[in-house]
């Protein structure tokens, strides 16, 4: 994701965040992974013993588990050819002027500080392994809202941290979550106290700068009873010839009556493997919403999930995927109905272009006794070119009769009549196609905050340029 910056709009076509800063890390650990590297990451962060032990335990889980054989092609990932810890700064700062100059330049290019001034309640920025900048508005801080880099939160709020960390996604959940637990660094930690409503979004911005870098941020959000918060994250990386790995874990706890929305605009460069585990638990009367836009990366495998644990909890996943040449977006959502009267909605819109492939992969599960649960899944796919591909894998496991569960999907192409009509109104074929695509994703884009919606449409337009003819 990037925020609108008029200067950048001059750049014609293509991936506009593909530049890289000269790599000037303060600290860089050798490539590859073993228990020593894991212990060293923990040591350099001066962590309590329980975290070191958890990391080492997770590393053993990571080693023991096979690579997933479903989803995308993971065969080219070489875990020993990745840097697991790279940092250009030794601590997160709160004043923009204190951020190291070359990193600041990057964020200036991406438009972060202006956005914060105008619009956001707080911003965090992560550069390779470490959070470099974190700030939150004073009034929120006074109300007890915590918005910190995850490492900092472990130091400053050890009890709150330990009580929740790893409770939603345990260390042995899956191979990549185990990897993240072993080597995590950075990410955001948010705590919203009872009854507090954070009106403006909190934002974090993730940037991979180093070649062959693995970014493993870890985000934990706790919305206490009756509170609400909207968190937005964006990500970019330089276009290197060799692949990078982004493997984050995001855990969200939405307590009774609380509401959390988590918006991602993923725009990694097309050499990044984006393998992310995101999961939320929603308690009684809570509302959890994932808004997940995937435009970048070589391969994304990400299925934000929601466990509806309390009565009347509601979960929504809005997913947009755009796969251009050589990209595979394997995205979707999972909803687990584990309490009566819970409701959920998954809406997926995917577009594949060139040799791109989009796959919707989802699960709706209803446990016995969760009567009066309702779930609707709606997937629409648009295939723009002959060599593009679209898949839909909607899993459903229904073990309760008194429920209403439905799934529907369509796959279509851009209609020649639609194109003809728009072109007769004076649009070029590319403009007309882009307009149709924008209309196709509109139901999701309108859920985004204004500036992000504008940016999303621009990103789609960039992807679409030269799409036809």
């Amino acid at each position: 994701m990037a925020l609108p910056n008029p200067a950048l709009n001059e750049i014609p076509g293509g991936y506009k965040y593909g530049w890289h800063d000269e790599e000037k890390p303060l600290q860089i650990f050798q490539k590859g992974l073993n228990a020593e590297i894991v212990a060293k990451i923990s040591a350099v962060k001066d962590e309590p013993k329980w975290m070191t032990d958890l990391r080492l335990k997770a590393y053993r889980h990571f080693e023991a588990r096979p690579m997933p054989t479903w989803g995308g092609d993971l065969s080219e990932i070489d875990f020993q050819d990745i840097y697991y810890y790279v940092t250009g700064t030794d601590k997160a700062v709160q004043s923009w002027d204190d951020v190291p100059e070359y990193i600041r330049r990057t964020y200036d290019k991406l438009g972060i500080p202006e956005a914060e001034k105008k619009y956001l309640a707080g911003v965090g920025g992560q550069y390779d392994s470490e959070v470099v900048y974190h700030n939150i508005r004073e009034d929120l801080e006074k109300q007890g809202v915590i918005f910190l880099g995850t490492d900092q939160a472990l130091k400053e709020h050890p009890e709150l941290f330990r009580e929740h960390f790893g409770t939603v996604i345990p260390a042995n959940d899956n191979k990549l979550a185990a990897l993240n637990t072993a080597v995590w660094s950075g990410g955001s930690f948010i705590y919203v106290p009872k009854g507090v409503h954070v009106e403006l979004p909190l934002q974090a911005y993730f940037r991979i700068n180093t070649q062959n870098m693995g970014q493993f941020e870890r985000t934990l959000i706790i919305a206490d009873e009756g509170s609400s918060v909207h968190y937005v994250e964006g990500c970019t990386a330089p276009t290197y010839s060799t692949a990078s790995l982004h493997s984050a874990v995001v855990e969200i706890i939405v307590k009774k009556g609380a509401r959390v929305r988590y918006t991602t605009i993923q725009n990694w460069s097309s050499n990044v493997y984006n393998l992310v585990t995101k999961r939320a638990v929603a308690h009684e009367d809570a509302v959890m919403e994932w808004v997940d836009g995937n435009l970048g990366s070589k391969l994304t495998m990400k299925y934000p999930s929601i466990y509806l644990l309390g009565e009347r909890a509601h979960g929504e996943v809005l997913s947009i995927a755009f796969a251009g040449d050589g990209q595979h977006q394997d995205a979707g959502g999972k909803i687990i109905h584990a309490a009566p009267n819970t409701t959920s909605l998954i809406t997926s819109k995917s577009i594949s272009k060139g040799t791109g492939r989009t796959s919707y992969r989802g699960l709706v599960k209803v446990y016995p006794g969760c009567e009066k649960s309702k779930s609707t899944v709606r997937c629409d796919a648009l295939i723009l070119d002959d060599d593009a591909r679209s898949d839909t894998y909607p899993y459903m496991e229904i073990d309760e009769d008194d429920v209403t569960i439905g799934h529907e999907a369509t796959v279509s192409k851009v209609g020649s009549e639609q194109l003809f009509y728009l072109m007769s109104r004076g649009l070029s074929e590319a403009e007309a196609s882009a307009m149709i695509v924008n209309g196709f994703i509109e139901p999701i884009v309108k859920e985004l905050p204004m500036e992000y919606a504008v940016e999303m449409n621009r990103l789609i337009q960039l992807q679409m340029e030269g799409a036809v003819g």
């Binding site: 591909r389 569960i405 799934h407 529907e408 192409k413």
Partner: protein, 418 residues
């Protein structure tokens, strides 16, 4: 009669003995041996395969004695059809009376990939089956009926059904499978190989009413030729466990298929069906509709793939799986998958639902004077009507309705009306 002692799992020797016992021609003995090798080279599913994750074969009665003499195959072939050269007989008789025709068609194609082992096993170990052949240009009026009557519950039986409709022919065939309830578990491993030639019209219905201890591990492959139209219907009523793999191959330009399924399951029945609609040629159409009514602790799984092949033009397809859950312990896992590798598609989509009867509908029916049970029966019949109404053949429709009534129940008023 069964091949008794030692009544162990199938082996090469048993396969050879099957041929010897019936004095089969060499080509057939060789064919069996070749398929037996295939069966040993294609290992049985491990449970890790996507199609086999929802049915465990741990309790499959692999040691059940093989039924060697073909059980009764009752056939009904209208006289004028016989005169026109239509063949409808058990496979053994066909081997004796039409060896060239059988040799041309038997065991020449691979079945559904998910059931490769069982497809090979049936071709090696069949001891009965059906041969239906409709010559070129022949239209059969009326309904052909073939009924496999398996006399015992505790046997293994792997019949092969071959249904060949030559170019420009037209036929309607109902195949029924019955075995007694109770007793120890048996293994019904029947497979169907259905081929519709250019411009042929085929309506092929299978009504499965196996006994309540039976395992049905079956496979069906339907090939739809250019401009041919095929409607298949699988009505799965009986068995303890059913795991059916169905492939519909649309590799002839302009072909059309309608793939229908009806499941009425209760007690502890587990019905698991995986399908592939393979749209491999231009201007092909394939629509699938599976309906399940699930009582007691019954569980239905459906894993269907619509694959639109790369480079195809103007295909249309739909996949729909609806589940009515009639008991708190019933469960359903409908999984309709799309793998779309072409963009010039006319229409492509799928839908799946699971849920109980809408309480408002039930309430409304009761306000019209029906008891809760009567209202439920009426609503279930109405639910099945989406498929039943598409069965144009009167014989098949009434047989299917009767079979469903065993599970749904009948109303006293119906009996009076009848």
């Amino acid at each position: 009669m069964t091949l008794t002692q030692p009544s162990t799992a199938l082996d090469a020797e048993t396969i050879a003995r099957i041929g010897e016992l019936s004095d089969e021609p060499d080509w057939l003995c060789n064919l069996r041996q070749r398929w037996w090798e295939r069966a040993t080279q294609t290992p049985p599913p491990t449970g890790q395969e996507e199609e086999w994750r929802r049915t465990s074969l741990d309790a499959l009665p692999r040691d059940a004695s093989l039924l060697t003499d073909a059980p009764l195959l009752e056939t009904h072939l209208p006289a004028d059809a016989a005169e026109a050269g239509v063949i409808l007989t058990d496979l053994r008789t066909a081997v004796r009376e039409h060896p060239e025709l059988v040799a041309k068609h038997l065991g020449v194609s691979d079945g559904p990939a998910s059931h490769g082992h069982f497809w090979a096993l049936a071709h090696a170990a069949w001891t009965g089956g059906l041969f239906c052949h409709v010559p070129r240009g022949v239209s059969v009026d009326g309904t052909l009926v073939a009924r496999h009557v398996i006399p015992r519950s505790d046997v293994a039986y792997h019949p092969v059904s071959l249904v060949i409709a030559e170019e420009g022919s037209s036929v309607t065939l109902l195949e029924e499978i019955v075995s007694p309830d109770g007793g120890s578990a048996g293994w019904f491993g029947g497979i169907s190989d259905v081929r519709a030639g250019r411009d042929a019209r085929v309506r092929y219905a299978t009504l499965q009413q196996l006994g309540d201890a039976a395992w049905r591990i079956g496979a069906e492959r339907v090939v739809v030729g250019p401009d041919a139209t095929v409607t298949t219907l699988n009505a799965e009523i009986g068995s303890a466990v059913t795991k059916l793999g169905l492939d519909v191959v649309m590799d002839g330009k302009g072909g059309t298929s309608k793939v229908l399924g009806l499941l009425a399951a209760g007690d502890d029945q587990q019905i698991d069906i995986n399908t592939v609609q393979d749209l491999a040629a231009d201007h092909t159409t394939s629509d699938l509709l599976y309906l399940s009514a699930l009582y007691d602790r019954a569980h239905a799984s459906f894993y269907g793939i619509t694959n639109v092949r790369h480079g195809t033009r103007q295909t249309s397809s739909y996949q729909e799986c609806r589940n009515l859950l009639l008991s708190p312990q019933a469960g359903a896992e409908p999984i309709p998958v799309l793998e779309i590798e072409a963009n010039d598609i006319l229409r492509c989509g799928h839908g799946a639902t699971a849920g109980a009867i809408d309480p408002t509908t039930l309430f409304y029916a009761q306000t019209r004077g029906l008891s809760a049970d009567e209202a439920e029966r009426m609503i279930v019949r109405g639910f099945f009507e989406q498929v039943v109404a598409q069965i144009s053949d009167e014989t098949i429709r009434s047989r299917i309705i009767d079979a469903l009534a065993v599970r749904i129940g009948t109303d006293s008023s119906d009996e009076v009306a009848a």
